[in-house]
Symmetry: C2
Subunit: 202 residues, 2 copies
DNA sequence: GAAGTTCGCTACGCTACCGTAGCGTAGCGA
DNA sequence: TCGCTACGCTACGGTAGCGTAGCGAACTTC
């Protein structure tokens, strides 16, 4: 027994502290982890690199998280971008706005390179798979909401392949970014949206 | 100089030999590398594991390839599945057949888990990015061919968003498999194809 | 059958990385 | 001011993995 914790809260590690130093440490560590995750992927990110980039000592990292995987999971959770839900008044406007938002996320750092890293990691880590599914589910919600508003305005019919809607809209954008690896422009998004509308709501 | 190559061909390593022993070694090594790539991803695959699974000695691996990356690149090149080009007589039949083929590839081992690994690796290795783009380009060709045949039969109009066609068809399938991570059924493929046809060729 | 080639095996040297221990210091809160 | 807490630093043990060296044995080819 080298230490005798006398305080009620922080005797044991891995317990969130509100000490401004601890808050700052956690922030810079997570920021660095996110950047490195994007650069080197899940397996390629090391605790030592996180320490070097964040300026925090490696020991400090282990004071806040039990192991490397926990740090990376925290980094992933921290970065999930909140899906915006534009309400432009028209279905097309909503969907285009939404598509542009998505394009921005998957083409600008750090989230850009993080998506491939997540997809790969999800294949081998159930907890990451869950995070990714949550992230995706969260992103499809505003699409449904936009369609729902359109139905209420009498702009679209109801009940049409609700489950298909997001896939048809988001799929091509991701496909172009990740698989065929060609540029994803704003005009491209509008083409997809227009095709989408032509197929489902005419 | 510890060795004095006297033969004209095989004095230096990394030179393809047609000795049946060498041929067999290369085959079992690549097979093992493919399996491990699918299981553990690019960064998680080790030369030692390849040796263990293939039954070949680690030294043998280094006799055929200069380093680990070269082995993995060879494994990737070896696995690119040839895209089938069904010709069923109708555009819908072709596209559905094609979609089912794709679904089979991305849901059955070893290619299933290889796609995510490739997507991630492509993000950080230009040569892998090139292989992936080639792979994708190869897969879009039969789709174009099917559409072209439909045009010649008078079944469809020409010149409609040729660049968009593959994205709209393949995107949702990949999206569902990789991002939203829900089951990709044959019925799903048919829904996508029908929507696709409704949007573009009606 | 002889020469040449490839193989498996064991044993390395080296580096990178994980996670921990112990120390002294500096910032925080009462 | 004073105790507590979190910090950075250095050092370390242990492991995993890359790539190489040298050997004798087995196979291929001519």
């Amino acid at each position: 027994m080298t230490k005798a914790p006398s305080n009620k809260e922080s005797g044991d590690p891995h317990r969130a502290s509100s000490d401004p130093r601890a808050v700052r440490s956690r922030r810079v560590i997570i920021d660095a982890a996110v950047a490195l995750l994007a650069e080197h992927g899940f397996a390629g990110t090391t605790v030592e690199a996180i320490a070097a980039r964040s300026g925090a000592a490696k020991t400090t990292i282990y004071r806040h998280w039990p192991d490397k995987r926990a740090v990376l999971l925290a980094a992933i959770e921290a970065i999930v971008p909140s899906a915006t839900a534009p309400d432009s008044g028209s279905l097309r406007g909503d969907l285009v706005g939404f598509g542009h938002d998505l394009v921005r996320i998957i083409t600008t750092p750090p989230t850009a390179a993080l998506v491939p890293a997540l997809i790969d990691a999800a294949e081998r880590d159930p907890e990451i798979a869950r995070l990714l599914a949550d992230f995706t589910a969260q992103r499809r919600r505003p699409v449904h909401a936009a369609v729902q508003r359109a139905v209420e305005r009498g702009e679209a019919e109801d009940g049409r392949d609700a489950d298909l809607i997001d896939d048809l809209l988001l799929g091509p954008i991701f496909y172009r970014r990740l698989l065929s690896r060609r540029p994803v422009t704003e005009g491209y998004v509008e083409s997809v949206v227009d095709t989408f509308l032509r197929a489902l709501y005419r």
